[in-house]
């Protein structure tokens, strides 16, 4: 491919090739403090949907080792988003070493809080707000659970902030580095934020899962315990490779829900949610 860049995010290495220079330059800039992988686990391709679409109304098709035929092409202006989506897609479809949970994750004292919920539940924003209060940010897309050890590994790629979350994160982390504002994407406005030095510097240190949370934004504050059996079902749905991993995935998930207390958290705003999480943390 004409332009290429390799990066390691936590234990996962990516090789990204592109028909255009711009997305590669942006990745190189935003992932400046990340290491290169010895051997990339996945190859990602950002290619023109038709040969002429490299110049005329440039249109990016997400491709790579694993294909998702229905993934819609994106305009070149959203190249950074395309690269991030393509990397997530490769891991989601092809990752087998770790049980992948669609969750955000923060850590303190070697113990991790995993937060999972549907898009818009506030996973990313909540992780960002907690990181602003001294927690280590481990990721806002995937938590990687090692079936052998039960430990969760960090995947601190760029934080994908959406809509109202952008302003909330910028207020909480005025010192952070941000990517360009991508307006009018399929998910509204998106802006990427570079995880802080603690998140990147400690990304090779796994943590023991200590708390599972199911946040829901836009409700009166409430904290409800969730039984292990319900957690199990919720997490099978939050995992992209639970079925593909077979018995290893089942074992990892059983161990996780048995050993980790779980709570559903309804919250009206970020400050309330942070207070709820920290209150639960003190009870552990």
């Amino acid at each position: 491919m004409r332009h290429a860049f390799s990066v390691r995010i936590g234990p996962i290495g990516f090789r990204i090739g592109s028909d255009w220079r711009a997305p590669i330059d942006q990745l190189r800039e935003l992932y400046r403090y990340y290491p290169s992988p010895n051997l990339p686990d996945f190859t990602v391709r950002l290619e023109a949907t038709r040969p002429w679409r490299r110049w005329v109304r440039p249109s990016i098709r997400l491709a790579g080792d694993n294909m998702l035929p229905e993934a819609a092409p994106l305009p070149l202006a959203q190249g950074l988003l395309a690269a991030e989506m393509a990397m997530n897609l490769q891991l989601a479809l092809g990752g087998r070493r770790y049980l992948l949970l669609h969750a955000s994750c923060v850590e303190r004292d070697g113990r991790a809080v995993l937060m999972t919920g549907e898009s818009g539940a506030g996973k990313s924003t909540l992780a960002t707000l907690l990181a602003a209060r001294g927690w280590r940010f481990m990721g806002d897309e995937f938590a990687l659970v090692d079936p052998d050890t039960g430990l969760v590994h960090a995947f601190p790629r760029l934080i994908s902030l959406k809509n109202a979350g952008i302003a909330a994160a910028m207020a909480a982390r005025p010192d952070a580095r941000f990517g360009p504002l991508l307006a009018g994407t399929p998910k509204g406005d998106i802006r990427h934020m570079v995880p802080d030095g603690l998140a990147v510097g400690a990304m090779d240190e796994p943590a023991r899962p200590a708390l599972l949370l199911y946040p829901r934004f836009g409700f009166a504050a409430a904290t409800t315990p969730v039984r292990a059996s319900e957690s199990f079902v919720r997490l099978t749905q939050a995992s992209t490779n639970y079925v593909a991993m077979g018995e290893a995935g089942f074992g990892a998930l059983c161990q996780l829900v048995r050993s980790t207390p779980a709570h559903a958290i309804d919250y009206p705003d970020g400050a309330a949610a942070v207070a709820q999480v920290e209150a639960l943390w003190r009870t552990l």
């Binding site: 686990d41 190859t43 391709r45 080792d65 991993m245 077979g246």
Partner: protein, 327 residues
């Protein structure tokens, strides 16, 4: 230009890999050709760079899960069809793993392919529908086309397990100019001991060659050729020529033997090369180290050829016209 030759060489002769191998290119190509699991088994036990060894161990674990899932799917079909008391043959990947053949080691297996006598098709379809399989293609033209002109039922998918089953009654479309002997395939099948069976070794080879060279556009050809190489390593080619003649597939089988000999050094007698073999190899290896399809004109030519093989010209014209009007 770099193509998938690096992968063919690695499969044929893993010892030939050196430390400065382009591992990224090799792994990416293997993944794109659905041969990463196979490669992982071929390289198992060799001294490899640590990251490579780790990645290939994952691929073996994934292939092992895939093998188990494929065998489970075969068992599900067996249970659904047991009351019918008709012969059920496993084909392709599922047959390789069920029979414990080298071709099954690490092989990626998508759909479940089975073959039943044409006279049992209706009963088989009814039994599968009753057991939770559903039609994939709601389009009436496609459905009718499959039923009238294809060597298989329209694909069915299981509503809970999300796995496809292809029910064949022969191994080439009835519209093709070659008519293999499906009854002989069933008569000579080898039982697995659980009411399922697999084609005899020579029929497996003939089917693989037919699938590769008399049907389709050579998508996944490298994997199919590797199957053929492994089948020959396991069983040799005694009686193959006569069996190929019987099914009307001598040309395809001969070509398959020439191609595997060229690509993998398979121990088969040398035959005089045909000029078109070069074109086939160009198509088989048309994949670069980023996993991209290359050689668009060669690919297009084989795509057109696949339609030409499948249908007489007037029928092809009618089919394309109908498809075009509906598109």
């Amino acid at each position: 230009m770099a193509d998938a030759l690096i992968l063919a060489r690695a499969l044929a002769d893993p010892q030939s890999l050196t430390l400065d191998t382009d591992w990224v290119g090799l792994i990416t190509t293997a993944r794109a050709e659905l041969l990463l699991g196979t490669l992982a088994y071929r390289l198992d036990g060799l001294p490899l760079p640590e990251d490579v060894a780790l990645l290939l161990a994952d691929a073996r674990a994934a292939a092992e899960n895939g093998r188990r899932a494929a065998l489970w799917e075969a068992e599900m079909a067996r249970r659904a069809l047991a009351p019918l008391d008709c012969p059920v043959l496993l084909l392709k990947g599922t047959a390789f793993v069920a029979a414990g053949l080298t071709a099954g080691r690490g092989r990626s297996i998508g759909d479940l392919d089975i073959l039943v006598p044409r006279g049992s098709l209706d009963a088989v379809e009814a039994a599968l529908l009753a057991a939770g399989w559903e039609w994939v293609k709601p389009d009436p033209y496609d459905d009718a086309y499959y039923r009238r002109w294809m060597h298989e039922l329209p694909p069915l998918i299981h509503r809970e397990r999300d796995r496809m089953i292809d029910v064949h009654h022969t191994i080439l479309p009835p519209t093709a100019r070659i008519t293999p002997d499906a009854a002989a395939l069933i008569a000579d099948a080898q039982p697995l001991g659980n009411a399922l069976s697999v084609p005899s070794p020579n029929d497996m080879l003939v089917h693989a060659a037919a699938h590769l060279l008399a049907d389709g556009d050579l998508a996944g050809a490298l994997r199919n050729l590797w199957d053929i190489h492994c089948l020959i390593e396991d069983h040799g080619i005694d009686g193959l020529a006569a069996r190929a003649r019987h099914h009307g597939l001598s040309r395809e089988v001969d070509r398959a033997l020439r191609l595997v000999r060229r690509l993998f050094g398979t121990p088969v007698p040398e035959m005089p090369a045909r000029w078109a073999d070069v074109l086939y190899l160009r198509r088989v290896l048309a994949r670069d180290d980023w996993g991209r399809p290359i050689r668009p004109f060669t690919r297009l030519a084989f795509y057109i050829r696949s339609h030409w093989l499948r249908m007489p010209p007037a029928m092809l014209a009618r089919h394309l016209w109908t498809k075009w009007r509906r598109a």
